[in-house]
């Protein structure tokens, strides 16, 4: 991105001033190197988001922002329903509530070293992943509706996990006001055999170790120490969420004109929050969030079964579960006045600071854990939400490394087998049904996650707490 088109507010804050139909500025958080490397499309898309009705304060882009659909990936925008604010299916994305959860194991790295290949095979055998994979759970209409209403709480009721897990999931594991009736039969049909599946693309289950702690006090509050073995699961709402996205993009595109909304890009399809289409989408999207929470809960259960058999001393407890693609009703103080806003986070993580009532009591003093997924060859990070992020980005931070090159470029540059062998030589075991998928997801195809995390830290969006490095990666 050409920095000449931006006003630099401070070292990590860049502004696109309102022009044309923009109602508010767009604010990008990143260091100069990341801004220069950022796609020009992020400029265009952030500026487009700033034109939408009812947007409050600014359209934001996180340090990992890249070219998305309508919204940039790494985009945050809040809308006021009382000011004609909108909800956008494109602003949430196809993979509703795609997110990351991290589990403690109570083990240290030497505890698993000898058994690593066996553990990798067992996880690969038990976690359904890749194109066309199915889970063993089949839901009838009534159970589907219960799952979509209660999310991870439904899963725990069915024996997939414990009540303690729920305290460490956003919204206590259940997104309120979900409306399963607003989810199409096609979306439910797509989910029929996909409960408890990982998916493909950038989704994964990793066994990791805590390679470095940056903030010992917060790390202690999160239960993390150097050498600990943890597990991170990255996946979303599977076919159900994808179909909700497809269904409502179409509906919102058709209704936009009726609602007098000018769309600079069809992908920004949206509807007033207070309209029938807007309310219908919110009900369906919340059901999609619950599907993702239930799905990650079931995958947690499957992981626990593997560990119970192979490493009976392990205790898999949940550190936290975050969602990346959501629209949530939250209270934020704007110009000294508390307002209830619908905050879209598209490829962005909620990052509430210390003391925020939405954070689980056990973690509240430290701030919300922000789990940043990296690549299978580099690292992931645990960050903590800050009080400043409230004023800077409606309490939001980055979500991952972001791709540096396309899938095609990646397959031209790497062979899947070679990536697997190279990583094995470094002590990282990859198990995947797809060598082409591994090549497309090669670590070198992503930006340096450390640079993204440092920028988020320095911009005050979240504090860097710990670095996690992969030992085993199950890749869809």
């Amino acid at each position: 991105m050409d920095t000449a088109r931006l006003i630099r507010r401070d070292e990590f804050t860049w502004e696109i001033s309102p022009r044309g139909k923009m109602r508010v500025p767009a604010i990008l958080y990143a260091d100069e190197a990341l801004i220069r490397a950022m796609d020009e499309k992020v400029y265009e898309q952030a500026a487009n988001v700033a034109t939408l009705p009812g947007i409050v304060r600014a359209a934001y882009a996180m340090p990992d922002a890249h070219w998305g659909y309508g919204f940039p990936i790494g985009g945050v925008a809040a809308f006021d329903p009382a000011a004609g604010g909108v909800v956008s299916a494109g602003g949430v994305g196809f993979d509703i509530s795609c997110g990351v959860r991290t589990l403690h194991t109570g083990l240290q790295r030497p505890d698993i070293e000898a058994i690593k290949p066996v553990l990798a095979e067992a996880l690969y055998a038990c976690i359904p992943c890749g194109v066309g994979s199915t889970g063993s759970i089949r839901l009838n209409a009534r159970e589907m509706s219960a799952m979509l209403t209660d999310g991870a709480r439904w899963a725990v009721r069915r024996g997939y996990g414990t009540a303690e897990d729920l305290e460490r999931i956003e919204e206590g594991g259940r997104m309120p006001e979900a409306q399963p009736d607003e989810v199409s039969d096609q979306a439910k049909q797509r989910q029929r055999d996909e409960m408890g599946t990982l998916g493909s693309g950038n989704h994964y289950l990793e066994v990791q170790h805590v390679a470095r702690v940056f903030e010992p006090a917060i790390a202690a509050a999160y239960g993390l120490q150097e050498g600990d073995v943890v597990i991170s699961i990255h996946c979303g709402s599977r076919g159900l969420g994808h179909q909700i996205g497809t269904d409502f993009m179409k509906k919102m595109l058709a209704s936009a004109e009726r609602y007098g909304i000018h769309l600079p890009d069809r992908e920004l399809a949206c509807a007033p929050i207070e309209s029938p289409v807007g309310q219908s989408y919110l009900g369906a999207m919340r059901a999609g969030i619950n599907c993702a929470l239930a799905n990650r809960q079931i995958l947690t259960h499957l992981t626990r079964e593997v560990f119970r058999d192979l490493l009976p001393d392990a205790r898999l407890t949940l550190l936290y579960d975050v969602s990346h693609n959501t629209c949530k009703l939250e209270e934020h103080v704007v110009d000294g006045v508390p307002r209830r806003l619908f905050v879209h986070r598209k490829g962005a993580t909620r990052a509430f600071g210390p003391g925020h009532p939405a954070v689980a009591p056990a973690l509240r003093a430290a701030g919300q854990p922000v789990l940043i997924g990296g690549t299978m060859g580099t690292a992931s990070y645990v960050l903590a939400g800050t009080a400043e992020s409230e004023a800077r980005s409606f309490g939001s931070a980055c979500h991952g490394a972001g791709r540096a090159m396309s899938r095609h470029q990646a397959t031209r540059q790497w062979q899947g087998r070679q990536v697997v062998d190279d990583l094995a030589a470094k002590g990282v075991l990859i198990r995947s049904p797809s060598l082409r998928g591994v090549a497309e997801e090669a670590p070198g195809a992503y930006k340096e996650v450390g640079a993204v995390v440092d920028a988020a830290h320095q911009a005050g969006l979240a504090r860097k707490v710990a670095r996690l490095e992969p030992l085993i990666c199950i890749k869809g």
Partner: protein, 138 residues
């Protein structure tokens, strides 16, 4: 010239089909969609699935057509390797031939979540050739 190809999109991938008519270009775009997921040459056209769509214009019809195929692939756990498309006004009738996913024979890359309105174009070039393209989310 190849009658379909992929084009780059930052995180995802674009599918593009060419043809003497919009219908032919749509069929080739569907072929490009399969190529995102696997090598289309490995898919045997054993079973036919019928698809019908309706949309206000040709571009939205392309998105609907690809999304209908994504839905059929996802729910039937199938891959498609041959297509026939008929377009009349705002409606499309299509056939997709394929078979069940078989990990032993189909080199799988990634599943497709949905077709998007990003980089969406259906148009005829000055030489009369039709092009149909959009980005798909993977």
């Amino acid at each position: 010239m190849m009658s379909w190809e992929h084009f780059d999109h930052g995180a995802d991938i674009g599918v593009r089909g060419y043809g003497a008519s919009p219908a032919e270009a749509f069929g080739q775009a569907a072929f490009a969609l399969t190529a995102v997921i696997t090598d289309p040459a490995t898919v045997n056209p054993k079973v036919a699935v019928h698809v019908a769509c309706e949309a206000p214009d040709l571009e939205l019809l392309l998105v609907d057509w690809l999304n209908a195929l994504i839905y059929e692939m996802a729910t039937r756990k199938m891959l498609f390797g041959r297509f026939a498309v008929r377009i009349a006004g705002n409606t499309l009738q299509g056939e997709a031939w394929g078979e069940a996913v078989d990990r032993a024979r189909h080199p799988l890359a990634v599943e497709v979540k949905g077709a998007t309105y990003t980089a969406l174009r259906v148009e005829q070039n000055p030489a009369g050739l039709w092009l149909a393209e959009c980005v798909v989310d993977v």
